[in-house]
C-alpha cells in the first residue's frame, strides 16, 4: 500500500522535499537531505539519525541532562535527586513530565514533588562546587533520610572539573546509603538520547543487582522497561499483568522505586516498551544475568493484545494463556464498540507525528485503528535502529558523539546467570518467537510517506502548508505554532494532560480524544461571518 497522492492536497513528496530543502544554505541542505526521506517499506532506505543538530536550526530536541534526569530517573519516587548546577536545570525538570506515582501508603517515601539543587553561584564556578555538593548531600540526608541519593551534573560541572563520582563515593561511605552520580552534562550528546544511555549505565552498574538477598514474590516475575507512566499508562498495564498472573517486580521507571531496582535481576523476563530510552539495560541484564527480553507495544488495541499474548506464551502457562485470552476478548469487545462509533467520523483523515524515540511509531497503531493515515513521521532523538529496525545495528557508524558515551563492558555473572531462561529462549526462538526484536518505524509505514529525523521548525511549517494534515502530533513547543494554522496539535509527550492512552482502556481514551479534536467547531470560528462581505460605505459620525 502506498500513500494516496491522487487527493489534491497531497503533493509529490520528492518534489516537496526539494522545495523545502532549497531554503537551506548548500551544505546544510545536503546534510538535512539524508535525514529527510520518502519511505519505501520494502527496501527501507538508510536514514541519517542521532547526529548533531545544525546550530541555528530551530529543533525540537533537548539535552543530555533532560534525557537522564527528566526522562529515566524522574519517575522513581524513593530516590532523592540532587541537581548539581545553577538553578535552572533543576527548576525545569521539576514535576514537568507528568510521571504519576502511587506510593502504597502515606508513610512510603515520595520525593517526586521535590526539586533539589546546589544552586551554583559564580564563586562555585570559579573555585569549584564539590564542597557545596557535599554539604548539600549531607543536608538532603539529614532532612529526608532517603535510601538513595542521585546526583545529576549540569553543563558547568564537567567544565570546571567537579568530580561528582568521587563526591558520591565519599558521601556513600560516610552516610552508609547508596549514592551515585551521573555525568549527564547537557552538551554530552546530540540530544536527550545520550542522557538515556548515561542513565541506563549508572543504574545498571550502581543499583541493579546490589540486593541479592530479597527474593521478589510471585511465580511469573517480570520487569517492564521503558514505560514512564505519563498520564497513568503504567497503572492500566499493571492491572492487566495482575489479571494475567504476572508479578511486576520493577518498572523502569514509571511508578517505580529504586528499592525494586536493587533486586530486579531476579526476574524471568524483561519487556521493553520504549526501545530507544532503555534497550541498553535490557541488553546488559541479558548479558550479565541471562534474562531474555523482547519488545512490546501497548499503544493501540491490537498491539496491546499481541504483546500481552506473547508475554503469556513466553511463560508457557496454560492458565495464564487462558486468562490473557479472556482479558483480550473482553476488552476488545469494548474497544470495537467505540471504534464502530468513532471510525466513520475519522476515516481517511491524515496525521503527522514528530515526537520522541518510540511514540512517533507506536501511535501510528491508534490512527490505523481509526482508519486514519500517517503521511509523515519522524523522531526527535532516535537512532537508525528505531527507524530501520535492529538488524541495522552492526552497520551503524559510530561517530565521535556516540563514542563520547561510555559503552559498559558487561560480563556474565556465573553465580546468578539464568541459563534455564536462555534454554527457554533458544527453544521458543526455534518456534518463530522473536527476542531482542524491533522492526522499527519505516517497514510499517506506507510507501511515499515522509520520514524526517529531527525535524526543524522550517520543515514542519512547510509540511503543514503543503499537506494541511487533519492532525499534527508533537510537543508543547510546536503546539501553538501548528494551531495558529487552524490545525489541531496533539501533544504526545504530555498527552495534553489527558490519558492514559496505553492498553485497551487507553486506546478508547485516544479514539474519543481524536473524535473531540477532529470534530470540534472551534477551528471553524476563525473567520468572522463578515470576513467576505463587502465593507460598509457611508458613515455615522458620532458627535
Amino acid at each position: 500500500m502506498s500513500i494516496n497522492n491522487s487527493k489534491s492536497k497531497m503533493p509529490d513528496p520528492s518534489v516537496l522535499k526539494e522545495e523545502i530543502l532549497k531554503k537551506y544554505p548548500g551544505k546544510i541542505a545536503k546534510k538535512r537531505s539524508k535525514g529527510f526521506l520518502v519511505n519505501d517499506p520494502t527496501t527501507v532506505p538508510e536514514i541519517q539519525a542521532n547526529v548533531r543538530t545544525i546550530p541555528g536550526i530551530i529543533t525540537q530536541r533537548g539535552c543530555t541532562y533532560a534525557g537522564c534526569k527528566g526522562v529515566v530517573l524522574g519517575p522513581t519516587r524513593d530516590v532523592v535527586n540532587i541537581v548539581h548546577g545553577p538553578i535552572g536545570c533543576s527548576f525545569y525538570a521539576w514535576l514537568t513530565r507528568r510521571n504519576q506515582t502511587s506510593p502504597p501508603t502515606e508513610n512510603d517515601p515520595n520525593f517526586i514533588p521535590y526539586a533539589l539543587s546546589t544552586d551554583m553561584q559564580d564563586e562555585n564556578i570559579v573555585f569549584g562546587g564539590e564542597a557545596k555538593l557535599k554539604t548539600a548531600i549531607q543536608e538532603a540526608f539529614d532532612e529526608f533520610n532517603p535510601r538513595s541519593i542521585a546526583i545529576f551534573s549540569t553543563c558547568p560541572v564537567g567544565l570546571i572539573g567537579d568530580d561528582v563520582h568521587a563526591v558520591a563515593r565519599e558521601m556513600k561511605e560516610k552516610l552508609g546509603i547508596n549514592i551515585f552520580g551521573f555525568s549527564c552534562e547537557g552538551y554530552r550528546g546530540v540530544s536527550q538520547s545520550a542522557g538515556h544511555h548515561i542513565a541506563n549505565n549508572k543504574i545498571f552498574s550502581n543499583v541493579i543487582g546490589i540486593d541479592d538477598v530479597t527474593e521478589p514474590k510471585g511465580k511469573f516475575k517480570m520487569n517492564m522497561l521503558g514505560e514512564y507512566n505519563i498520564g497513568g499508562d503504567a497503572f492500566v498495564l499493571e492491572n492487566y499483568f495482575e489479571e494475567m498472573g504476572i508479578d511486576l517486580v520493577a518498572s523502569f521507571s514509571g511508578n517505580s522505586t529504586i528499592e525494586s531496582y536493587e533486586y530486579s535481576h531476579k526476574v524471568d523476563l524483561n519487556i521493553v516498551m520504549c526501545h530507544r530510552s532503555i534497550n541498553y539495560i535490557a541488553e546488559m541484564m541479558e548479558k550479565k544475568y541471562g534474562i531474555p527480553w523482547f519488545k512490546v507495544n501497548f499503544i493501540g488495541a491490537k498491539a496491546t493484545a499481541k504483546s500481552l499474548l506473547k508475554m503469556a506464551e513466553y511463560y508457557e502457562d496454560a492458565a495464564m494463556i487462558k486468562a490473557t485470552k479472556a482479558l483480550i476478548d473482553r476488552e476488545m469487545a469494548k474497544v470495537q464498540a467505540v471504534i464502530d462509533e468513532v471510525r466513520p467520523k475519522l476515516e481517511g483523515k491524515t496525521a503527522m507525528m514528530f515526537v520522541g524515540g518510540s511514540r512517533a511509531h507506536h501511535y501510528q497503531e491508534l490512527f490505523t485503528e481509526l482508519g486514519m493515515e500517517t503521511i509523515a513521521a519522524g523522531y526527535e532523538f532516535a537512532h537508525r535502529d528505531d527507524y530501520e529496525g535492529r538488524k541495522v545495528i552492526p552497520s551503524i557508524k559510530i561517530d565521535a558523539d556516540t563514542r563520547n558515551i561510555e559503552d559498559l563492558k558487561v560480563e556474565k555473572e556465573e553465580a546468578s546467570f539464568r541459563s534455564e531462561l536462555q534454554d527457554k529462549k533458544a527453544k521458543l526462538e526455534g518456534a518463530k518467537f522473536d527476542f531482542e526484536d524491533y522492526e522499527g518505524m519505516m517497514p510499517e509505514m506506507k510507501k511515499g510517506a515522509l520520514v524526517i529525523d529531527d525535524i526543524s521548525h522550517w520543515e514542519s511549517e512547510k509540511l503543514i502548508e503543503k499537506y494541511r494534515p487533519d492532525i499534527f502530533c508533537a510537543g508543547i513547543k510546536e503546539k501553538y505554532v501548528v494551531q495558529k494554522h487552524g490545525i489541531p496539535l496533539k501533544q504526545l509527550h504530555s498527552y495534553d494532560y489527558g490519558g492514559p492512552y496505553a492498553g485497551f482502556e487507553g486506546a478508547i481514551n485516544f479514539y474519543r480524544e481524536m473524535e473531540r479534536m477532529l470534530t470540534t467547531d472551534i477551528w471553524k470560528m476563525i473567520d468572522a461571518p463578515w470576513k467576505n462581505e463587502p465593507e460598509m460605505v457611508g458613515s455615522m459620525v458620532m458627535e
Binding site: Y24, I58, I125, Y187, S191, I476
Partner: protein, 462 residues
Amino acid sequence: MLLRHTKKASEAVDRKALTINPAKTCQPVGAMYAALGVHGCLPHSHGSQGCCSYHRTALTRHYKEPVMASTSSFTEGSSVFGGQANLLQSISNIFAIYEPEIIAVHSTCLSETIGDDLKQITEKAIADGKVPEGKHLVQASTPSYIGSHVTGYSNMVKGFIDKFAFNTGEKKRQVNLISGWVEPSDMREIKRIMKIMKVPYVMLPDTSDVLDAPMTGKFQMYPNGGTTISEMASMGDSMATVATGHFCSRDSAIHLENKCKVPFKLTDVPIGVKATDRFIQAVSSAAKVSIPEEVNVERGRLVDALADMQQYFYNKKVAVYGDPDTLIPLCEFLVDLGMKPMAVVSGTPGKEFAKRMEAILAEKVPGAKFANGSIADMYKLHSWIKEEPVDLIIGNTYGKYIARDENIPFLRYGFPILDRIGHSYFPTVGYMGTLSLAKDILNLLMDYQDANCIEEKFELVM
C-alpha cells in the same frame, strides 16, 4: 500528602548549600521573554539545546502561545574549543532560514563558563558579513549562576537599549516606559492608561500582541506586537523614562540616562492603589501633563469596591512567593487591605527586597517572615506555613502542592502558571487591574468559606 517529607521550620535542617523547591529560575528564560517583546526579533540561546528547549517549554506552557527561539546546539567539542563557530554558524543560518530583523543572543552558564565573549563574537559576525543589510544582532550576558530569571530579563532589556537607543540631539515629546516583567495583558493595560493620560510613549519590551496574538488561521513567526527598532532608537530622544521595578528595569533606565541623557523616574510595578498612584504621578511629572478626570474616576471605582471588600480581608494571613518587583507592591497592597503577609520569599537576590519588605511589614505585620536570595525557597516557605498556618497562598503554579496538602486557598500569580489559562489576558496592574486582583482574592476566600463551613454557618447573603 504530596509534600509528605516537608518539616516544620523548627524541625528542619538549617540549610547552607541545598535549595529545595526554588522560588526562582535562571537568567536566560528572562532574556528570552524580554526579547519576545521586541518586534521581528528571534531570541537565540548560546548554549546546549536543553536550555533553549526548557525555556521555550516554560514560556509556552505559561502563555499557551508559540515561543520561537533558536540555539547554538553546543556539543562536547564546542564546550572544549569554544562556541564561536557555533554562534557564527547560527547567525548565518537564522538570517537565511528564519529571516528575523533582529537576533537577540543571550548566553548560558555553559558559554559563560568557557568564557565565550558574545560582544566579540557578534562583532566578528558583522565583520565577516554574516549580518545582512538592515538586520541586527543584540547580545546580553546572562550567566545562570548569577541572579535569577529576573536578572536575565533586565540584562536583555539593557542590551536592546545599548544597541538601539540613540540621542539625535532633537528631543521628542514622548515618555519611555521600561515595563518590567509583567504579563502581556498588563503591558496592554499600561498602554491603555497612557492613552487615557494622552501621553505619547515607547514601551520596552512589549509582549502584547506577541504572547496573546489572535487566532487568524495563519502562523506568524514574528507577530504584529513588540517594540520596533525605530521606537527603540527614539528612546534616546524622549523627555524622560518611567521605569517600573527596581530589579527588572532600573539598570536599563540608568544605562539610557548615561548613554542618551534621558532622565528617569524609578517606581514600582503599578499593583495596588498606592503603587498605581505613584506610577500615575511619575508619568504625569515625566510627561508634564495633568492627571485627567478619567483616571480619578477609575481610581474612585477601585477604592469604592475595596471599601466593600475590606471586611473580608481584615487580618487574613497570607504566604507569598515570586519575583521582587511584583512582591513589593503586592505586599504593600495586601497590607493596605488589612491582610497580613506572614511569609514572603523570593529566590532573586538583592538587598533592595529586604529594605522594602522591612518598610512595608515591620510595623503593620509584626512577626512576618521574609527572605530572598540563596535558600529562600518554597520549602522554607512551606516550613514557615507549617509553623504558623495562613489563610491564603499567592504565587506561581508550584504552590498548588502546598495549598492542597495544607487545605489553604491559593491564588496563582507570577511565573510560571502551568495549569490555568487566562493570566495572560486579564491584567492586574493599574486601578482596574488591581480591582480584578482584589476580586480574585475575595472569591477564593469566600469560596473556601462556602465549601468548608459547617452547615448551620452556610449563608445565602455574605
